[in-house]
Point group: C2
Chain length 201, copies 2
């Protein structure tokens, strides 16, 4: 017999067979919140607190067919996900332009660079060339660790890959180059604290 959770995911009794310690890690890692949810919550806190105006951009969609049932309602009947040409988040903090991408990995030892696309790297390079602030927020799901990596460091790892080097950033490299962000309650992921620190340095 199979059960279906309201989220549509299949429930199988196999889940019960996960070893207890592994289950513990998973439940700690997930906390019921994705990195995106944590960041949206953080950005809402920044907005209501008067710290910054930063929003996630909508997912880019290629619309193919729309049913106009009436003047006010329109139902999209066929559409496709498009690849983003920029990063997901941007906004303004103390007059400065802020631009970043956020990604999670299941890997415990390294962060695969395939999480980023070449045009996103180029976009961040353009932002930096216009004196904007660009970075990435990386989350290791298994240990629930979050890091901010400045774009200049990301570019170096990207170039290493392009020159035939490894296709990922070692976790040790992220620990030494990046900035660890501890989880908080309000805001959950206080990445602007890091940016504030970097602006003052």
């Amino acid at each position: 017999m199979e059960f279906h959770y309201p989220n549509g995911r299949k429930y199988t009794s196999q889940q019960k067979l996960i070893p207890k310690n592994k289950e513990k890690i998973i439940s700690y890692g997930k906390r019921g919140m994705t990195l995106e949810e944590d960041l949206n919550d953080t950005n809402m806190y920044y907005l209501s607190n008067g710290t910054a105006v930063i929003h996630k951009k909508p997912t880019p969609i290629q619309i193919v067919q729309v049913d106009y049932q009436s003047r006010s309602t329109a139902v999209i009947k066929e559409a496709y996900f498009r690849q983003a040409s920029t990063t997901d988040y941007n906004g303004v903090y103390k007059g400065k332009y802020i631009d970043f991408e956020a990604k999670e990995t299941q890997s415990a030892t390294s962060f695969p660079l395939r999480n980023f696309h070449e045009h996103q790297i180029n976009h961040m390079k353009n932002v930096v060339s216009h004196n904007g602030i660009a970075f990435v927020i990386l989350r290791f799901v298994s240990t629930d660790e979050v890091f901010l990596l400045e774009s200049k460091d990301l570019f170096l790892f990207w170039e290493r890959m392009e020159n035939g080097g490894r296709k990922s950033i070692k976790k040790d490299e992220i620990i030494s180059c990046g900035h660890r962000i501890e989880y908080g309650l309000h805001p959950r992921i206080d990445y602007l604290k890091v940016i504030q620190h970097l602006l003052l340095v």
Copy 2:
């Protein structure tokens, strides 16, 4: 007999009956390009020319049903248009955060304020409070005139409406408060020229 153009719009012979002088105005007004297309073209020019990094945000969509036919393809089968909570365009110019909305009107004498939503006005107020640059680009379709109106002026007209005043901005008011942008070839709508001028003043 009816023809269908590739854009899916119905062609009726009635179009032939439009008086010649009116037809002329329409064809000059449309030029085959919408304000959005002109601005996307302008932003692409700014990007490739190293002037600024400014993009239009994707249309916000509420996705209800997705068919995952295979690992790589996903078809959105049911989705709805959501109201935007911010403005459509943002980016960075000389380190400054740029944020604007672009709207067209068919009216020849005034610009209806219902083209904007209250949360867009609030968003622009937030942007300004964080030292970002916010404005709107307004186009009168019938005469193909384009104006940049600074957010501080838009806020005044918005407040006038909230205080029971008129629900639109008179064209004369836009001519005196706003900044006219003449069409060019490269870029088509050089709105950053106005911003550059305002930054220097």
